[in-house]
């Protein structure tokens, strides 16, 4: 089975970023720039390695698009167990947008003739999320996004579990070749030691330039302006610690306003949206309070023994 994983080396977002309006660039600040292998890509690689192990005779290639500094991502892939590594680069690709990168990757993939292409869902730094689906588009292949689990069927099709909202899952079945866009957190990648990555530097990396890949496409997008984000004003609501629990809760839920009106047991007041039963916050002895809370949860099908269970 021919497997290909697209890897990217990205800026670690934990390091403060600096925006340079001219020439429209984002760089990392002191004390030093930190680059990591994109976490979602590491997970894609892990899934590919699992498949490779299950199908003896499989071949895994890791591919990246970028200058020589990007080879660190390929070394990581080789150290993890990939069989070959390819880097696409042309000086004309500096600052290329996501679709251009996807098109170059697609042209390279056409030559590799993969059965399965795996990509991370988005990069930590730019995070467009376009590259994986665009590759599928350029190669005219079926794509499955949001993937967290895969299984090869005996008939050669691939079953994939997609993550949907609120815990839902969708199961897809696709013929191969296909493109998988993988969610981070799908599996925990094996740890790859520093030594193994250093050793991987001795392995050859095939470099493909624009000339070998049919020239460079016209840019799909052009960066017009880069500006730093507006600082978010942080409003911290601090409730008066001397107030009763009821009053503190009212204050926090009322947007920090000091509660007016009597506090105490069974107050029916305007601040009842959370209780939902027309009653305001209650102050009760613990056993009674627990009982009331349980009734509240049961009524909403959130506890066993309630209407929806």
């Amino acid at each position: 089975m021919q497997l290909v994983v697209c890897l990217a080396r990205v800026m670690d977002p934990a390091v403060a970023l600096e925006v340079q309006a001219e020439p429209g660039r984002v760089t990392q600040k002191e004390p030093r720039p930190v680059h990591v292998v994109n976490p979602a890509d590491r997970v894609a690689l892990e899934l590919a390695m699992q498949l490779r192990q299950r199908r003896p005779g499989s071949h895994l290639t890791v591919v990246t698009c970028g200058p020589s500094s990007q080879e660190a991502a390929l070394h990581y892939g080789l150290a993890r167990g990939a069989d070959a590594a390819v880097r696409i680069w042309d000086p004309g690709l500096a600052g290329a947008d996501a679709l251009t990168v996807a098109e170059m990757l697609a042209r390279c993939l056409r030559r590799l003739v993969p059965d399965l292409v795996l990509c991370g869902n988005r990069t930590l730094d730019y995070g467009t999320g376009l590259v994986g689906p665009a590759i599928a588009g350029y190669l005219d292949l079926p794509q499955m996004t949001g993937v967290e689990r895969i299984e090869l069927e005996p008939d050669g099709r691939l079953r994939a579990w997609r993550r949907l909202d609120r815990g839902a899952r969708e199961v897809l079945l696709s013929p191969l070749p296909a493109v998988l866009v993988v969610e981070p957190g799908a599996v925990t990648p094996h740890y790859v030691s520093v030594l193994s990555q250093l050793r991987a530097r001795k392995q050859p990396v095939r470099v493909l330039g624009g000339a070998e890949l049919g020239g460079l496409p016209a840019a799909a997008a052009r960066t017009v302006q880069v500006t730093p984000p507006k600082p978010r004003t942080k409003r911290v609501i601090l409730a008066d610690s001397k107030a009763s629990a009821t009053d503190r809760m009212k204050a926090l839920m009322g947007g920090g306003k000091k509660p007016t009106g009597p506090a105490g047991p069974a107050t029916a007041d305007g601040n009842s949206s959370a209780a939902g039963s027309g009653k305001g916050p209650l102050e009760l002895p613990p056993e009674q309070a627990a009982d009331q809370i349980l009734q509240f949860l049961k009524a909403r099908g959130l506890a066993l023994g309630g209407p929806k269970s």
């Binding site: 670690d12 390091v15 004390p31 094996h190 740890y191 030691s193 193994s196």
Partner: protein
């Protein structure tokens, strides 16, 4: 997978020296708290592998659970009558597992944190001076010569239990008129957890980077409040080119007290006991300096725990365990805290931030914060300076 040919002649020979006396087993905190690790069996299994001509690996007989249970406290080495270096073999096994990518998830996260952010807790470097708060601390500028460097370490920078240690140190050094600088945001982990967890490549990379940084600043002397940083910089960095002196804060403070530059005046009357950190005590034979500092505090009556000095039981935080959560058997930190509580001392003094973190959270978990307070030797001294 680790083969016998990967072990050094020393590692093989000293396995053969084993008399199966079982003293190592008797003092191993992992063994005594229900973990699968038994140091005597580690040696025995290496021997079994040596006796087997069919190319067996020690990892065919030793499970990963045994290997990861070790806190590298060195109690086994200390008790062994024929000086077998058992911890060394365990770390060698870890190196093999690491090369295969077979690391417990939490350990892998800590290793990734060190590799990418220079911190096993994954904090970015830009946060490394926040502990100072309102205190004025001089940060070394790029290219500046720094004769005396105070190494804050990752715990000192990022752990709430360790911030007061660093802050106390600043106050004490200022009071004693000692001039020093810190690296500030360019500091990164000493790499000790990387070596103990078995990613030797990561350790060496970080150690070399740190040595280069110290060289660029022409650092002559490094002061640290962390027993792990102390041990690794003093004993393991020279091999990688380090040419500076390293002093542990308990030693430095003892000296300042002896010189009369720090005169504790406020009495400590409700009893005190001292927990010897493994990496200060057994690893570096320093048992007296922290006791000298405690002894200088008026009224401080030191009640030793049953197992103290070279027989001190590990706090459970070494060997990367601060970052792993191995839920087998009892908690080692709980066993040690119980011994401390038995002395009836109100204050348990430690000399390593990790010991403080482990024992402090143990006290909180057991609801003993009213009965006992855990403090670093620097904190206790600072708290008892003024009347």
């Amino acid at each position: 997978m680790l083969q016998l040919s990967d072990l050094s002649w020393k590692q093989l020979l000293d396995s053969d020296a084993c008399t199966t006396c079982g003293r190592c087993q008797a003092v191993c905190p992992a063994q005594n708290s229900g973990k699968p690790l038994n140091p005597k069996q580690i040696v025995g299994k290496v021997l079994q592998t040596m006796a087997n001509p069919a190319g067996l690996s020690p990892l065919d007989l030793i499970t990963p659970e045994e290997v990861w249970s070790c806190t590298t406290c060195a109690a086994c080495i200390h008790e062994c009558p024929v000086e077998i270096e058992i911890v060394d073999k365990i770390v060698e096994l870890r190196r093999s597992l690491v090369e295969e990518g077979k690391v417990p998830d939490m350990a892998a996260t800590a290793l990734q944190g060190m590799a990418e952010r220079g911190d096993p807790w994954l904090n970015p470097q830009s946060g490394r001076t926040r502990w100072a708060g309102d205190l004025k601390v001089a940060v070394a500028q790029p290219g500046e010569e720094v004769e005396f460097l105070y190494w804050v370490g990752c715990a000192g920078a990022f752990d709430a239990a360790a911030h007061p240690i660093a802050r106390s140190m600043v106050k004490l050094l200022d009071k004693a008129g000692v001039s020093f600088k810190i690296l500030g945001n360019s500091e990164q982990c000493s790499g000790d957890p990387a070596r103990r967890l078995g990613d030797e490549g990561l350790f060496q990379r970080m150690a070399r980077e740190n040595v280069a940084k110290f060289r660029a600043h022409k650092v002559k002397k490094v002061l640290t409040h962390c027993a792990h940083c102390f041990n690794t910089m003093k004993n393991e960095y020279p091999e990688l080119g380090a040419e500076f002196e390293v002093v542990h804060h308990s030693q430095f403070l003892a000296r300042l007290v002896a010189q009369g530059k720090l005169k504790p005046a406020r009495p400590l009357n409700d009893g005190v006991t001292f927990h010897d950190p493994c990496y200060l005590g057994r690893y570096n034979n320093e048992y007296e300096a922290p006791r000298a500092v405690i002894g200088a505090i008026p009224g401080a009556a030191l009640a030793e725990m049953e197992r103290h000095k070279d027989r001190s039981i590990c706090c459970g935080g070494g060997g990367g365990h601060t970052w792993m959560d191995i839920r087998l058997g009892e908690r080692i930190d709980g066993i040690r805290l119980d011994e401390a509580v038995q002395t009836r001392a109100k204050t348990v003094v430690t000399a390593c931030p990790f010991c403080k973190i482990m024992l402090d959270s143990s006290a909180a978990a057991k609801g003993l914060q009213d009965q006992v307070r855990v403090r670093d030797v620097a904190e206790v001294l600072a708290e008892h300076l003024e009347e």
